[in-house]
Amino acid sequence: MSLTTKDMSVVKALWGKISSKVDEIGAEALGRMLVVYPQTKTYFSHWADLSPGSAQVKKHGKTIMGAVSDAVSKIDDLPSALSQLSELHASKLRVDPANFKILAHNIIVVTAMLFPADFTPEVHVSLDKFLQNLAWCLAERYR
């Protein structure tokens, strides 16, 4: 389900609207994921505080969304945009790729909560596809 030119322009347009809240979306999505899908906490056993508002969660959510925003800016060539991060996730982090889908779902939920009028079904499908493609590229180096 590769990205059409329409998908790319829809995602870029969405990013234009949500850019001021991108950090908040990241923090909220990550925090939510840890609560709603407790099995994801296994990747963060080295953190002192896994509750939604914690400093570590906020910081990491911001890091993740920073990378997602970067991917939006390089949306025409996601494989090369994500090759280094893929290497990191494959060799060092080894996050089970099923979790990318879980985080994507939470990014979508939070975006819908914060931008209900903008998050139409058409925007939803393009964002869903984008996050799916991003996840695919992120898992590229796994095996």
């Binding site: 709603v36 939920v109 819908a112 909560m113 079904p121 869903d128």
Partner: protein, 147 residues
């Protein structure tokens, strides 16, 4: 048997008592048909589903969305016995409608997103967890009679 906390019970009753069934049902089903277009395979007789606008404006989609959402009422009223409550509906979806159970998850995700958009900040992580747990139990019950 599914164990529900007081918070989970109260959350589910609260969400559904305030639910605008027509609007939420319509929006959730339409969103599902747009975001996961392969789900349209079950609605061959619904007429025009050619694009997002057609799907959103289709009165058969709106009506059916309401039917599906009211189907959840049984679970809301029988939270301690959802499996038995849905035995017949499970047989229906398997033997007559031939719906791939993965579609239940897709519709549940769209419903979660529509409810999240409605409740805004009221859709806290704990509320989301309760709502998704409820839908997961319903999905499990609906899938139970497939063989």
């Amino acid at each position: 048997m599914v164990e529900w906390t007081e918070f989970e019970r109260a959350t589910i009753q609260d969400i559904f008592s305030k639910m605008d069934y027509e609007s939420v049902g319509h929006n959730a089903l339409a969103r599902c048909l747009v975001v996961y277009p392969w789900t349209q395979r079950y609605f061959g007789n619904f007429g025009n589903l050619y694009n997002a606008a057609a799907i959103m404006g289709n009165p058969l989609v709106a009506a059916h969305g309401t039917v599906v959402l009211h189907g959840l009422d049984k679970a809301v009223k029988n939270m301690d016995n959802i499996k038995a409550t849905y035995a017949e509906l499970s047989v229906l979806h398997s033997e007559k409608l031939h719906v791939d159970p993965d579609n239940f998850r897709l519709l549940a995700d769209c419903l979660t997103i529509v409810v999240a958009a409605r409740l805004g900040s009221g859709f806290t992580p704990d509320v989301q967890a309760a709502f998704q747990k409820f839908l997961a139990v319903v999905i499990s019950a609906l899938t139970k009679q497939y063989h």
